[in-house]
């Protein structure tokens, strides 16, 4: 009995320490975004601000046009969902239901797209999108984000289709339903949770992206993540504003984890792993 309570004490100790290590950087960012300049620079560091300073949010979002960057991020992310989800659903259905020549090659190809180092694509992308006139447009980001989101959505939705018993469709086939009918009346609705999870995570990955956005946009289509580096200036770092924009950047991700925990957790794990 004594040993058991010691072990559970150690468990709680470990859980608390790990949680603190994970939560502290997030807490610190949020709290810094609410601090006045004096509090930010005071030593020892202020754990709880004496007063809340809204200017850190007001300046970038009201005075410096960061709202536009938010809108650009939204356009790129939602645009990407609109392209990724239908195409991935069809492709996932195909590789889940048919055995055909090239299916394995296609999957390996998708895997390499997912794994390829983004930095290796900046040279060709930059010149290509300049040439076709899509540089600095949301369309460029909508297209480019497919490289990691299509493979990802493909795997999530495929595992959704894999888990639906084939018998359901086969009975519909006996009744003479066409492929389109089977897809839209049976398989897609049954697979809806997987498709929804894929859509949410597609949104999140696009929203979170920085490297391509920094290379492929200059002024008009800049996203919120690229706005973050602007606070590191020649004369110093605008800490308060940087913390405020960081907080806004991470908000969607944190809210999704908190409220859609079940889908997101397995999805995030799959995001790095499933092949």
């Amino acid at each position: 009995m004594k040993l058991a309570s010691l072990s559970s004490l150690l468990t709680y100790l470990a859980v608390i320490l790990i949680s603190l290590a994970i939560l502290f950087p997030i807490y610190w960012t949020i709290i810094t975004s609410l601090k006045s300049l004096t509090d930010i620079f005071s030593m020892p560091p202020v754990l709880i601000p004496s007063k809340i300073e809204p200017l850190n949010y007001y300046r970038p979002f009201v005075m410096e046009g960061y709202t536009k960057l938010l809108i650009n991020s939204l356009i790129a992310s939602i645009g990407n969902i609109i392209v990724v989800i239908p195409l991935s659903t069809l492709a996932a259905y195909s590789i889940s239901r048919y055995r055909f020549f090239g299916a394995d090659t296609f999957q390996f190809f998708a895997l390499t797209c997912r794994m390829a180092p983004p930095a290796a694509f900046i040279v060709p992308y930059y010149i290509m999108f300049r040439t076709i006139g899509l540089y600095d447009t949301p369309a460029a980001l909508v297209i480019v984000y497919c490289i990691f989101n299509i493979p990802f959505a493909l795997w999530i939705i495929k595992s959704g289709f894999d888990s639906i018993p084939r018998e359901i469709e086969e009975s519909a086939l006996v009744d003479g339903a066409s492929l389109t009918t089977r897809l839209y009346k049976i398989s897609v609705p049954l697979c809806a949770p997987s498709i929804a999870a894929a859509a949410i995570l597609t949104f999140l990955f696009s929203w979170n992206e920085y490297l391509f956005a920094s290379v492929l946009t200059g002024f008009h289509a800049r996203t919120i993540t690229t706005g973050l580096t602007a606070f590191v200036t020649e004369v110093g770092i605008r800490w308060g504003e940087m913390a405020a924009v960081s907080t806004v950047c991470m908000l969607p991700g944190i809210l999704l984890v908190l409220f859609l925990q079940k889908y997101i957790v397995s999805g995030l794990a799959l995001g790095g792993v499933k092949a």
């Binding site: 859980v15 195909s94 960081s246 984890v257």
Partner: protein, 286 residues
Amino acid sequence: MRKNLTPWLLILGAFTILLFNDIIPTLYAFYLSLFVYNMVSGAPPKFAYLNNYVNLLRDPDINASFLRGFTFSILTTILAIILGLGIAFLMAKDFRGNRLFRVVVCLPLAIPYITIGSMWKLMCSPNIGVIPYFLRTLGIVYDISSSGLQAFITTLVIDVWHWTPLVALVLLAALASIPQSILEAAEVDGATRLQKLKHIYLPMMSFDILFVILIRFMDSLKIFDEVWMLTGGGPGASTRYVSIALYSIVLKRWDMGYGAAISMVFAYVIIFLSWIMNKTLQVRRT
């Protein structure tokens, strides 16, 4: 005939986009890598055979960044696997607040990488950071803008903070798939914890562990956003990993031909690693 074409038609859309996003840029990058092409000078591209690749092999900056990247990836992978395994065992335990703990553990995975960089910049700054302050009270001088080693270690810590949750989640799933009967049998035979770890857990999770090692290694080799935000590759070149070196060469020198050559080499290192990973997975399936 029509029946045979259906699966192909269904993947056509996704395939076309990936073709445009992956194959065409790769071919184009290969083509560019054969030229001397500086976008600043404005001179037309000049065919240079494989000169860019020859220069690359001799370039101390690039060689050092690959070596640094490999060192970084090996260290961060080892740390993340050990910690991740520990957290996985912890999450598998039955205690009050377990579900909340799982939510907390997932948080780092949902945050933009660049924000992770700015988050740690806030904490590590010599002027305002809590970490330098805390270490100073312990008598340690911590300044990532002057100490290369400290900057390197800080990027390791950040990467471990960011990605250990993923390792933990994957290994938790592996842990959950071990049949309860085996564990109970070991219990009856009076196996100690260490014996159980050595003879049951590790062998039964070996594929997942190998898999997560490969994933982690490849991902860390690609690290960019967090480090770019935190140090920009400095001080000196102490955190100049491959992506950072590549980005700087392209966007500061606009040396597109050379940048393309580095891209090709970098991409093929990663593709080779993912080929190994794919083989590993196939072994597991059979």
